[in-house]
Amino acid sequence: MYNNSRVKFHIYPWLSLILLVILPSLHYSQQSFNDILSAENRLKFGNYLFCQKDYLRAADEYREYLKISNNDTLRFKIGYSLFKLGRFHESMDNYKSLFYNSALTDEAKLQFIKIKFLLNDFADFRSIIDQKNYSTNNYPGIETKLYQLSLLFDDLVTDSLLFINSFDQDEKNVMLKFYMQRKYPGYKNETTAGILSAIIPGLGKIYADETGDGITSFILTYALSFLSYNNFKNDHNTRGWIFAGLAAYFYAGNIYGSLSAVQNYNAALNFRFDSDLRLYLSQKNYFIHEPDFLCK
């Protein structure tokens, strides 16, 4: 039941109290928001993201920091982040900004050269090394190694002694192995495969390490030839000629196939050589010692 004398709703004191609580809290939260986005916090957060390998957001934080203050280390780290993100050309442009008047000039040039090497245009890579514009003062040995390796990738090494001597003592054995592999890759010969397949169908494919295809080819040609012979023998000349035509067709196809099998075999050899060498170089980080600030 309502009591007449006591039913009053005093809204203004309550409203005042709510406003007194809300307004200071809004003010406080706004202040703390400003602190979070301070340059120091962006730098700390960027470093944290960088060490967590979140390179995309780390680069964003570093860029925000660079709007307030210049920092060569951060420019280097942005270049490194872009490289890790696969944005090679952007990364190279970023490193170029450190080529002059910076304590990290040599390191930036090394990273630039490494990316140029990874782009697989070795002729362009060698022309850049020859220009000397991108040469480092402190790491000439690394440039020479990569230069020689670019020649090895393109199969243009002419002086084996010069090639081997470009590398350190502990690397020479591995490099000698790669050099010999490139020099004597163990290619199969197309003509040999063709002749073998002409003598016995499928033999050229077996020579090209395609044993299953070789046996299939032999069975197919043999079966069609037998059918042709059998039909001629039993006076079914029309069928005999049809099977003879098919046998000849697959016989010719088997010779052609053995040539292409050899080409595929040789391409696989090249692929394995490239993969092994790239894996080795990747493990050695392309002979480049990266700065300690990169959170390894």
Partner: protein, 161 residues
């Protein structure tokens, strides 16, 4: 208007409450009503079929005409009846067409004979060939044109896009 009477105040209170409740109910009704009413739909279990090649002769040149005749005959007599069985991408008939288009009829026919042999070898499947994104084994034409610079080795553990 001043409400001196206690009953008037109670009445006003009730009216305000009623208005508030009606307001919320109307909002809920508006939110529920949609422009298009929900209706029952019959479920369809049809899967999307790849486009058929069709029996169309597109080109009137002699070579293309011959090729089209081969293709149509093969599709009509064998492929459409036998079904989608080729494990490779491109399929054997597509391989033949591409081979002839990229080289010539004689070389394309030899490439097809070689492909047919590889197709017959049921023991050489994955992982000797890489997978194409279509789920078939990837065996492209450019690796068999006898042009070494065109040959690309695909390791068996990748999916070609």
């Amino acid at each position: 208007m001043r409400l001196n009477n206690f009953n008037d105040k109670i009445l006003l209170n009730k009216i305000v409450r009623l208005v508030v409740v009606l307001f919320f109910i109307s909002q809920c009704m508006i939110a529920q009503s949609e422009l298009k009413k929900w209706i029952k739909l019959d479920a369809t279990y049809e899967t999307e079929q790849p486009a058929r090649s069709g029996y169309i002769i597109k080109n009137k040149e002699a070579g293309s005409l011959l090729l089209s005749v081969f293709k149509i005959t093969y599709n009509f007599l064998i492929s459409d009846l036998d079904g989608d069985n080729c494990p490779f991408y491109p399929t054997c008939s597509q391989f033949f067409i591409q081979s002839v288009e990229e080289t010539n009829l004689v070389k394309g026919a030899l490439m097809f004979a070689d492909r047919f042999t590889r197709d017959t070898n049921i023991f050489k499947r994955y992982p000797y060939y890489p997978l194409h994104k279509s789920g078939r084994l990837y065996d492209p034409v450019h690796n068999y044109k006898l042009n070494f610079s065109d040959v690309v080795h695909y390791p068996g553990d990748i999916v070609v896009q």
